[in-house]
């Protein structure tokens, strides 16, 4: 087994401000091998974006308290200086966002914004940087790329904008791409094109991707592995086929049951009853227990430690579905 590209252990993030701190992440552990695609799925507010931003240390320095470890390509991200961070961002680790309209600077051309990144990290002349920007736009399938180089973000369609954003992110050849719901704001057909593009580029460039989505169909399309988040915790993790095919955590099962694609026509969509907990006052036990049909007394008392319902799988549940109820948690992983 090769060394992981990214390894996160027991990551805690709390936002301090006025009033009670918001515990956005609690004990998140993740691992990504080079060239792998990991999908993080979960409801709105479950902490997906915070996880991505923590990886790049993009959270507001003064308000966000970060605990745990993040190691990227063998280096400790949380110990990096500002200078080291700036050298890593955009060069080795890049990010794309949900809304390319607002994620691109509206008063600079696409070409200028890509060239700016290229010159920042790779140096060279403005002409060389522009040539590279053109090359990138062609690579991500922007038609008449030479003309689009001088277009402003608002002059492109949503799909083209997201392609331009991808070109920008990949312009310095990162080993890791962080994608925060990059297809959510797009039309269904464009969504598929962008997914296919990302898959092709991933294969060509051999980079790792952490892909955030709340769309299980998208996850099934692009992921090697899936991590399911709930209220700032990873509640289940495993290969895409196993997690989506045979969910171990009742929350994952609930997500699957409530997702439109997985329901036969005419059948009822089963929404999960209740609402996620307040991150300012998390319950002492499993955060999902109040909404869980399988909850037992232990669920309300302590946070379930990770168990291994199968090889290469993890679930934080006292009563994993389809597996014998286990009191014997795997000790090696206990938080």
């Amino acid at each position: 087994m090769s060394a992981p590209l990214l390894e996160i252990a027991d990551l805690d993030v709390a936002f301090h401000g006025d009033g009670t701190p918001v515990q956005a992440l609690s004990g998140v552990s993740l691992r990504l091998d080079p060239g792998q695609v990991l999908c993080i799925i979960g409801e709105s507010g479950s902490g997906k974006s915070v996880t991505l931003r923590a990886m790049m240390r993009l959270l507001p320095e003064r308000r966000a308290r970060i605990g745990g470890q993040i190691s990227f390509a063998g280096r400790d991200v949380l110990a990096m200086t500002d200078r080291q961070l700036r050298a890593m961002r955009g060069r080795e680790m890049a990010m794309i966002f949900q809304e390319p309209m607002t994620a691109l600077d509206p008063v600079y051309t696409i070409g200028a914004q890509i060239a700016e990144t290229v010159r920042r990290h790779l140096g060279g002349t403005q002409a060389a940087a522009r040539a590279r920007a053109l090359d990138m736009l062609e690579r991500v399938g922007v038609p008449s790329a030479a003309r689009r180089l001088d277009a402003y973000p608002h002059e492109l369609s949503g799909g083209l904008r997201q392609r331009a954003m991808i070109a920008l992110a990949l312009s310095c050849g990162p080993q890791l791409l962080l994608a925060d719901e990059p297809t959510t704001a797009l039309d269904a057909t464009v969504q598929i094109q962008v997914l296919l593009l990302l898959r092709r580029l991933q294969a060509e460039l051999g980079m790792g991707i952490v892909f955030v989505t709340h769309d299980l169909g998208v996850a099934a399309e692009i992921a090697d592995r899936v991590a399911v988040m709930y209220a700032g915790r990873i509640v289940e993790e495993g290969s895409v086929a196993e997690v989506l095919g045979r969910p171990a955590h009742p929350y994952t099962a609930g997500l699957l049951a409530s997702s439109v694609e997985h329901v036969a026509p005419g059948a009822e969509i089963a929404a999960i009853p209740g609402a996620p907990p307040d991150l300012r006052a998390l319950p002492p036990g499993c955060s999902f227990a109040p909404r869980c049909r399988h909850a037992v007394a232990a669920c309300d008392a302590t946070v379930p430690p990770p168990v291994r319902p199968g090889p290469g799988r993890m679930a934080r549940c006292f009563t994993p579905l389809g597996f014998a109820p286990s009191g014997h948690a795997v000790e090696e992983h206990v938080a």
Partner: protein, 314 residues
């Protein structure tokens, strides 16, 4: 280029409307326009003769067109109180006001902008609170009152600067001899625009700082100074709009501030025209000031189109 032409065309109806209102001032102003020219005991024949001489017996539309024709040729009529051409009076007064604005506006812009940017750096911090405090005070204190206080302190108490007037008029424009007269009125005038510019810059920069593109810039590995440059560049069109509006107000001169300092600017002139019921002078002054306002807005519009590609359309 099409956009420029469209904005120009859009300004025309506004200019037309302004001219109609100015023309109508003669009739809106209380009292008969003849009252100030003709003695109260004049005979009907005299009144008719004067009416005819001034063209007041013609239909209103014709009167307006004649007036407009004259105005377009730079003839704003004659001041009743000074018997000098209104155009000359207005130009002299505008020049004097311009001298104050040339000092007050850049000061307000530089100080206000710097204050706004500093406040936005650490929102809620002590700098932010101090800036907000100064800006609120600057906007809410009546500027003529500030003028009086400045005169009492700097002129009367400490004898640092002259209290009123413009100086000898022979001194060179940029000499200390003439500048020292301008300092106190300029400070009084600059306070409101400074407060407004500081508040809007702060709001604008904070709003932009929460935009995703700032996150993208950081995620690209850009330095904080580059991020700041992008944010300020994005804020520029809005700041220019505010500056343009404030410039328009300042050119109108402040009747009260210019009166406090006996500064013969456009506000002072306006005050005199009203006091003396000098309708042609009032009409001409209001017209020129309104046109300056329209022109400033047009300029701001065009600058914004230049600076914000989203406003450009094919």
């Amino acid at each position: 280029m099409g956009t420029v032409l469209r904005r120009l065309l859009l300004a025309l109806p506004i200019a037309f409307g302004v001219s109609v209102v100015c023309f109508a001032l003669v009739y809106i102003a209380p009292g008969d326009p003849l009252q100030t020219i003709v003695p109260p005991d004049a005979t009907q024949a005299t009144i008719d003769a004067v009416k005819h001489a001034y063209g007041l017996d013609k239909p209103l539309v014709v009167q307006y067109l004649i007036w407009l024709w004259r105005v377009l040729h730079g003839n704003l009529g004659t001041s009743i109180s000074t018997t000098r051409p209104v155009a000359l009076e207005v130009m002299l007064a505008l020049g004097n006001t311009m001298r104050l604005v040339a000092l007050a506006m850049p000061a307000a812009l530089i100080v206000g902008y710097a204050m706004g940017v500093a406040a936005a750096r650490f929102p809620g911090g002590w700098i932010d609170r101090a800036v907000t405090g100064i800006a609120v005070v600057g906007v809410s204190l009546p500027n003529y009152w500030v003028g009086v206080v400045l005169v009492i302190l700097c002129a009367v108490q400490w004898s640092l600067l002259p209290a009123t007037g413009m100086g000898s008029g022979h001194a060179a424009l940029l000499s200390w001899e003439s500048l020292r007269f301008m300092i106190l009125p300029s400070i009084s005038l600059a306070l409101i625009p400074m407060g407004i510019i500081a508040r809007s810059t702060r709001a604008c920069v904070l709003d932009l700082a929460s935009h995703d593109f700032v996150l993208t810039l950081r995620a690209k590995g850009m330095s904080e100074s580059t991020v700041t440059r992008h944010v300020l560049r994005n804020a520029l069109p809005q700041v220019i709009a505010i500056v343009g509006l404030q410039f328009g107000y300042l050119m109108g001169g402040s009747i009260l501030v210019e009166t406090v300092f006996s500064w013969p600017g456009s506000g002072f002139l306006l005050g005199r025209a009203i006091q003396n019921r000098d309708v042609p002078l009032l009409q001409g002054t209001v017209l020129v000031l309104a046109m300056i306002f329209v022109a400033t807005n047009l300029l701001v519009d065009l600058l914004q189109v230049r600076l914000d590609p989203r406003l450009r359309r094919g």
